[in-house]
Point group: C2
Chain length 292, copies 2
């Protein structure tokens, strides 16, 4: 069944995601800060709207995929925001990675006007967005989730309702802990292999299938060995996510020493040569820097 | 072709490994500190020897699987040690996890009497030893490796020559870095999930296939969720290995802050209630202790 949907935020993730919705036969309208980013979608017949309010006015479901908590707040509740025009009974689905507390607060405000908001952060990277193989972890009202689940399945392979409002964001925070800590292990293991005279490519292959194996080891380890520090996921976005992680951990009284150490190492990379725009595997630079 | 082999050290790893050699048709004799541990093998027709020297005297290949660097030194060069009786042209294969520098020194001493020594540490756990699916990473003379490779393949699935003497131990050190650091991420992610009200089993399943996924997340994470802290690999053995890791890193000028943090957390668990005998996933106790 075709739905009237809107998509706000056409970055490297949002653009292919909106494309999947359109190609699945839904009526898709879009808004993003830089109209140029919409051109390929507009050429496919997707329609442009001039603001979040203009977009949301006649939509059943409004998807967001922006950067941080203040961006979501602004798109929803700022001047020309979604909340000013959206109809009661509609659903807002937020794919951005923001603080769980923010997700809960925004959902509560929208609930006041009869609109369900789901937090639905994603993982799987640009490739996952392009191939519709994302993992989408959803928090919020279960009935609203059931309504939008078929739409989410056009964009993701693993689509799961994990709890009430904020739970999707909390689980995404857990994911980012794993990503940040695992890459630290990858860097330390590759450096010791390299300095011990072992071919790091052999190291990656030999250890990949064992108890030390991880996505980070196989994927990011190989990039480090190849000297490829281009971003699949940028350090500055990881740092934004890790600030969210620490605020969620603070709220819940959870000490995260390993994550904190990874943050400091990422900071060392950020502190020079536009290091924040490199991929998370560029953490290796922090270690190389220590070794002079 | 049947070989005359000896196996020294019949712990939870060595015992099934020696069994695979025997079942592959080789002439196997064994020695271990506690003779009782050999009883099942002896019942299968394997023969007992009263000391390393008695074992090594007429063997083509002598396998060791003991605990630490001093244990290997003692078995090789102590009173009634292997070195006192082994014939020139034989090969010693050491499956213990010891310091790379120790492996190199022992190999050099044996080379002086015409005996090749390969360092061949293993990963894959008790299950891997039982099912002959171990990863065996081998350092040392390439020709000696080729001679024993068919024997190693009766015990392991991934059998790789990774460099000169000590390289196998260095790569095992890299593996232990990954294991130690990854379990830290697992603990932090599970705690945040738990305290955020997310079902940790759902968290493990949802994130397992993504960029945060790892062997540690799927295997050890599940054990933590189930409250199962029984050892697949004991914390005190991991700590022994991490001391080796740090000595290898010191030798090579590699800073390992993530690994160092994991060591401290394991130490906190070791410090009470026989925590060192628990599995590495019991690191969760250090975190729970911090939370009071």
């Amino acid at each position: 069944m075709s739905a009237k949907v809107g998509f706000i935020g056409l970055g490297i993730m949002g653009r292919p995601m909106a494309g999947h919705l359109a190609r699945a036969g839904h009526d898709v309208v879009v808004f993003t800060r830089t109209r140029d980013k919409a051109s390929a979608l507009l050429a496919e017949g997707v329609e442009w709207r001039d603001s979040p309010a203009a977009l949301a006015a006649d939509r059943d479901v409004v998807f967001l995929c922006v950067t941080d908590t203040p961006d979501v707040e602004n798109v929803l509740f700022g001047a020309d925001g979604v909340a000013g025009s959206i109809r009661a009974g509609s659903v807002v689905v937020d794919h951005s990675t923001i603080a769980p507390a923010g997700a809960r607060a925004f959902a509560e405000r929208l609930a006041g006007q009869g609109v369900a908001m789901l937090d639905a952060p994603i993982t799987g990277g640009e490739i996952g967005a392009q191939n519709a193989t994302l993992t989408i972890m959803v928090g919020g009202d279960a009935a609203a989730f059931q309504r939008v689940e078929p739409l989410l399945k056009t964009m993701g392979r693993t689509v799961r309702h994990v709890g009430p409002s904020g739970a999707g964001q909390a689980l995404k925070a857990c994911n980012q802990i794993l990503c940040a800590v695992n890459v630290m292990g990858v860097c330390e293991a590759i450096l010791l292999a390299r300095q011990s005279g072992i071919d790091p490519a052999t190291a990656i292959e030999t250890l990949g299938g064992g108890a030390g194996g991880s996505w980070a080891w196989t994927q990011l380890g190989r990039k480090i060995v190849d000297g490829d520090l281009n971003p699949a996921f940028m350090i500055r976005l990881m740092q934004k996510d890790l600030r969210i992680v620490q605020s969620a951990a603070q709220e819940n009284g959870v000490p995260l020493p390993g994550t904190a150490l990874a943050q400091q190492l990422f900071r060392a990379v950020e502190s020079r040569d536009a290091g924040g725009d490199l991929g998370t595997q560029a953490m290796i630079r922090a270690y190389e820097g220590m070794m002079g």
